[in-house]
């Protein structure tokens, strides 16, 4: 189980991209103070999940890439948040390049000089909103088996840049990349979740597919990626052309193509180091998922695309450097050796002459009449881009990207159902399990109902009498007043829910408040927002209407936060709190009208 075994260092680096969180704008209104990466999911900051995932698979060299504006908040959280400080050492480095704004495309991030300098070996690119239960090492293992260079040209070694990669590496068609796609349908599916269109073919590999993979191996779900684009782009294409055009080249090369439209890119990429060079050479590659991976997948079958991307130069630069280095002036052995053709489970490409480089040495003596001389115009082997297609199976581990409010709700509630460590014991528990379901049992009044198996209550939560809390996640220092009913709700830290409120399917931002007697269904509350008493709303987003960084907004937030703090600690009577909240809200509405 995840806790049991130690992981050897795999030499990989992880790059976690902490983006702006556009689809979660209710909760990320001020990225300076509270960036997306810190939004709690099941009472842990979002960033905890990818960080923990990395540590569990033995990656300790982690960089969090974030715009300078959010860097401070993340840095503070890393050093203060109890969940983040409990992660193993060494702590992740924060990389906040000057030129990085909230809107920089993902591939643009990898082009930044600071990021280029930070990556010294093979690396993983992860989003900050990743929720992945699959053991990360099994993905790494799959990559090592399928893609790591042969014989020393191996997996992610630090400070191991190109030069030593001979035929066992890129030039021999190994050291490709790998991505992860997961099914969005099935249990826990959310309407309108973004999807990607992917086309895959059977893995062309040394391994006979008929050989039963050992237990725990992901190999049976790994395929060769030949086409990847977001479904939106696909829809644009089909609308534009009234059909979906497929190049003949694809069908000529691959007989059996599987097309998937309901899967989504998990944005987990295992990249060899040379991908950085490919990205920096091609300015027009914007996003990793659409452009880099999409183009790479196409380059595998589209003749000439690999050359257009400059792959030939990238791979051959490696050779030149070697000559310049002079350390192996006699020519390293790796140059003459093609393990891919030596191994008995690999097919040698005898025609190209590349394989039997060992023979070419004396081929000059014997005469090379029947053989073709390998030339620079010979075919370029593009290392493949692989796709791990996560199977749809209720028992299968969870992979999700939490980037919309609906997903935030569904994933939080799903995590709340996991048995806690004190219930099931450490070895059997999920890596995402909390130590206790209810961290602070004394805060819960006698006569109220909290369904323990699907609820998660953080520290210092007080639930007053006659409350009913079902299927909910409640953050630290929340107060649920008498007679409130919460069903399928997510409450972030410091929320105050008034008396006799009925909340169903709501997400309440930090330090927000709900006045007494409100009936809210599927609503979202912005950080610090107070809903007036007796509101009856459905499917609304309660947000401040000001252009966000303006003074009154900040002031109101401050007042509400302070009030909420004092109210929860009992220093300010509740009715005063609601009176002030009301006043602020009416002020906001007045200000809103002339604007609209």
């Amino acid at each position: 189980m995840p806790h049991a075994q130690t992981m050897p260092p795999t030499g990989f680096q992880a790059l976690i991209l902490c983006g702006p969180g556009v689809s979660l704008n209710t909760f990320t209104s001020s990225p300076e103070e509270f960036p997306k990466a810190l939004i709690p999911i099941a009472n842990r900051p979002m960033i905890w999940y990818p960080l923990d995932w990395c540590y569990r698979m033995g990656i300790t060299n982690i960089h969090l890439v974030t715009p300078p504006s959010s860097a401070k908040a993340i840095e503070a959280a890393l050093s203060q948040n109890p969940h983040l400080t409990s992660l193993p050492l060494p702590t992740a480095d924060i990389l906040a390049p000057e030129a990085l704004s909230q809107n920089t495309p993902t591939a643009g991030i990898l082009r930044l000089p600071e990021v280029q300098a930070a990556i010294t070996g093979d690396f993983l690119v992860l989003p900050c909103d990743l929720m992945c239960e699959i053991a990360g090492e099994s993905l790494l293992e799959a990559w090592m088996i399928q893609e790591a260079g042969l014989g020393g040209a191996a997996a992610g070694i630090q400070d191991y840049l190109g030069p030593k990669m001979g035929l066992g590496g890129e030039r021999g068609g190994r050291r490709g990349g790998m991505g992860v796609w997961f099914q969005t349908k099935g249990e826990g599916s959310v309407k309108g979740e973004e999807t990607d269109f992917v086309a895959t073919t059977v893995l062309h590999s040394h391994i006979r597919p008929s050989l039963t993979p050992p237990e725990g191996s992901l190999r049976s779900h790994i395929a060769n990626l030949v086409y990847a684009t977001p479904t939106d782009t696909l829809n644009d294409i089909t609308e534009d052309k009234k059909s979906f055009p497929i190049r003949h080249g694809l069908i000529r090369k691959h007989g059996r193509i599987r097309m998937l439209t309901t899967h989504r890119d998990a944005h987990i990429y295992i990249f060899p180091h040379w991908v950085l060079e490919m990205i920096s050479r091609n300015e027009r590659l914007d996003s990793i998922s659409e452009d880099v991976v999409g183009m790479w997948a196409k380059a595998g079958w589209q003749d000439g695309l690999g050359d257009k991307l400059g792959l030939r130069e990238i791979f051959s630069v490696a050779e030149e450097k070697e000559g310049e280095n002079g350390s192996h002036s006699s020519g390293s052995v790796e140059d003459d050796l093609d393990l891919g053709s030596m191994t008995t489970t690999g097919t040698s490409d005898l025609k190209n002459g590349a394989n039997d480089a060992s023979l070419t040495g004396f081929a000059t003596r014997v005469g090379n009449s029947s053989m073709q001389q390998p030339s620079s115009s010979s075919k370029l082997t593009v290392p493949p881009m692989l796709a791990y297609i996560h199977p749809l199976d209720p028992a299968a581990p969870l992979i999700r990207r939490v980037d919309t409010a609906a997903l935030l709700l569904s994933v939080s509630l799903r995590l709340a159902k996991l048995g806690s460590i004190d219930e099931v014991g450490k070895p059997a528990s999920s890596p995402f399990a909390h130590a206790h379901k209810i961290a602070h049992p004394s805060g819960i009044a006698q006569r109220c109902t909290v369904t323990k198996n699907d609820c998660l209550l953080a520290e210092n939560v007080s639930v007053e009498e006659k409350c009913v809390v079902k299927e909910s996640v409640i953050g630290a220092s929340c107060t649920i007043k008498t007679g409130a009913r919460l069903t399928r709700c997510v409450l972030m830290d410091g929320v105050v829910v008034g008396e006799r409120c009925q909340l169903t399917g709501c997400i309440l931002g930090r330090r927000s408040g709900v006045g007494q007697g409100c009936v809210l269904k599927e609503c979202e509350l912005q950080e610090g927002y107070g809903v007036v008493e007796e509101t009856d709303a459905r499917g609304e987003k309660f947000m401040a209407v000001f252009p966000l960084p303006t003074l009154p907004y900040v002031a109101s937030i401050f007042i509400v936060n302070a009030l909420g703090h004092f109210t929860t600690s009992g220093k300010v009577p509740g009715h005063l709190y609601w009176a002030i909240i009301k006043a602020i809200n009416s002020l906001q509405h007045k200000l809103e009208k002339p604007r609209s």
């Binding site: 053991a135 293992e141 191996a154 006979r208 030596m342 040698s348 090379n368 109220c448 323990k452």
Partner: protein
């Protein structure tokens, strides 16, 4: 709702009850387990019998101890079990008609749980509540019967289940050892990333074949040496060898070392220990890397070329060359012969599950050779057309026997039967001073699941693990006796198999 604790507790009690039965009255144990409603009265009887018969009690104690030892129970669990047993017994005595009492108790428990558990009230059935309650209070004897109830229903399977059949073939029992490592989890902290990848590639047959594995290992060790830094107060010749040993252990756990790898590693260790401790670290490392390069060149690359050159002379116009699976040297030989514009045909014999011959057949066919491919069952037919047999080797034993991919021996024997010359191509790095008389004493057992066909659940083999009296054996190698081999082509020349020890001595002394 603490669901996980329930089975645990019921399990301990389930173990306790039938145990009491068997100890007192072994034959009745089965019937009591089968008939649930009857079970409790039987326990009572058993208890009575225990009390009456003092001699049997001693036997029971012994048996309990034995069971305890078998199941490796902790002291706390033993205590718990004894307590549960006692409570169950007492409950039995109190309630004469057990099923009726049980129902009553169940309702009692439910009510009590509802009263007490105000915080845990939810959309739960009374039954669940009683279960929840049960885990909470172990001190009240009232709830004991409920504990013993599921115990009886669960007691049946262990009694009915036969002892798990060993799926290991007894004759090859000594070869099994540790199952192959399939994950990097749990590998030592010192294992180099390149070694991690190599181990996985070897256990998944990405790198397969004696020469390829040997070369790959040496190249990876070159990486290890390059990134190695001698810790303070240590000298490189002494410490580097100990740094290599966890790497080697990891490789062994992925797949046993090949003979060539063993030879290469032995050479490397000698080379490391010969480093002068006064040499600066950088130059020592550089020298070692150069030595590895030279070793690969001399013993494998150039040796391959020499062997291919001399073996290719044996191929003449009109020959039909028969070969088994894929050997990189044999492939090189055939390519060399083709380069010399010799007109010949190739028959590739192959075997499951690796189908290495397919790769050879594909490569040669792409080159323009005429290739015939068939599996090993067709060997009798294939030898009729063949004129010469070329074989690769995993190792050559000192008694002249060829140790190679399983199936090689049959091919060699059939060829001998048909009076065909059998030529083995083998570098001296694969020679070993070990002797082998048969393929039983030394061999490698691969995971038997590899013989099943992935993704197919319909074949009879797919459920072999559940089929009684069926064992699968997936051997990697076999031994071909020297009388079936006419010639061994090495870089030292072509010899009969009896000259193997001479060549081995030559190659190790030089």
């Amino acid at each position: 709702m603490v669901p996980s604790e329930i089975p645990r507790e019921s399990l301990t009690t389930s173990a306790s009850l039938p145990e009491g039965n068997t100890s007192a009255n072994g034959t009745e144990a089965n019937s009591s387990n089968v008939d649930k409603s009857n079970g409790q009265t039987q326990t009572k009887e058993a208890n009575g019998a225990n009390g009456a018969n003092g001699t049997k009690e001693a036997a029971m104690v012994a048996e309990v101890a034995e069971v305890a030892k078998n199941e490796k129970l902790s002291g706390a669990e033993m205590k718990k079990r004894a307590k549960a047993e006692k409570a169950a017994r007492r409950a039995q005595e109190k309630q004469a008609p057990p099923p009726a009492a049980l129902v009553v108790k169940k309702i009692d428990g439910g009510e009590e749980a509802a009263k007490k558990g105000s915080t845990t009230a939810g959309p739960t059935t009374p039954g669940v509540k009683t279960q929840h309650k049960r885990t909470g209070s172990t001190n009240t004897t009232h709830h004991r019967p409920m504990v013993s109830r599921p115990a009886q229903s669960q007691a049946a399977p262990p009694a009915a289940q036969p002892k798990k059949e060993s799926k290991r073939v007894a004759l090859f029992g000594h070869l099994y050892g540790q199952p192959r490592r399939t994950t990097i989890a749990g590998a030592g902290k010192d294992v180099h990333p390149a070694v991690l990848a190599l181990g996985l590639q070897m256990s998944n047959y990405v790198i397969c074949g004696s020469s390829a594995r040997c070369v790959a290992t040496l190249l990876v060790f070159k990486r290890v040496i390059e990134s190695y830094i001698t810790p303070p107060q240590n000298s490189l010749p002494r410490h580097l060898a100990s740094h290599l040993s966890p790497q080697i252990d990891y490789l062994v756990s992925c797949r046993p070392l090949s003979v060539s790898m063993g030879n290469a590693i032995r050479w490397l260790k000698v080379e490391i220990s010969d480093v002068d401790p006064d040499t600066p670290e950088q130059s020592a490392k550089h020298d070692l890397c150069d030595a590895i390069d030279n070793f690969i060149r001399e013993r494998i690359t150039v040796a391959n070329q020499v062997i291919a050159l001399s073996a290719a002379e044996k191929v003449q116009d009109g020959d039909v060359i028969l070969t088994f699976a894929k050997s990189s040297i044999v492939q090189q030989t055939l390519v060399e012969a083709h380069r010399r514009r010799t007109k010949f045909r190739v028959i590739v014999i192959d075997s499951r599950p690796l189908f290495e011959g397919k790769h050879l057949a594909r490569a040669l066919a792409d080159l323009g050779l005429e290739v015939q491919y068939s599996l090993i069952h067709a060997i009798g037919h294939a030898v009729k057309d063949a004129t010469k047999v070329f074989l690769g080797a995993h190792a050559m034993m000192s008694n002249g026997r060829l140790y190679s991919r399983v199936g090689t021996a049959i091919v060699a024997m059939m060829a001998k039967e048909a009076d065909l010359p059998v030529i083995v191509c083998c570098e001296s790095v694969k020679f070993t001073d070990k002797v082998a008389l048969d393929s039983i004493v030394t061999n490698e057992v691969a995971p038997p699941d590899e013989l099943t066909i992935a993704g197919e659940n319909t074949t009879s083999l797919s459920k072999w693990g559940d089929t009684p009296n069926l064992q699968l054996l997936n051997l990697m190698y076999d031994v071909t006796p020297p009388e079936y081999i006419n010639m061994v082509v090495t870089e030292y020349g072509s010899q009969p198999p009896s000259s193997v020890p001479v060549v081995h001595r030559l190659s190790t002394n030089s």
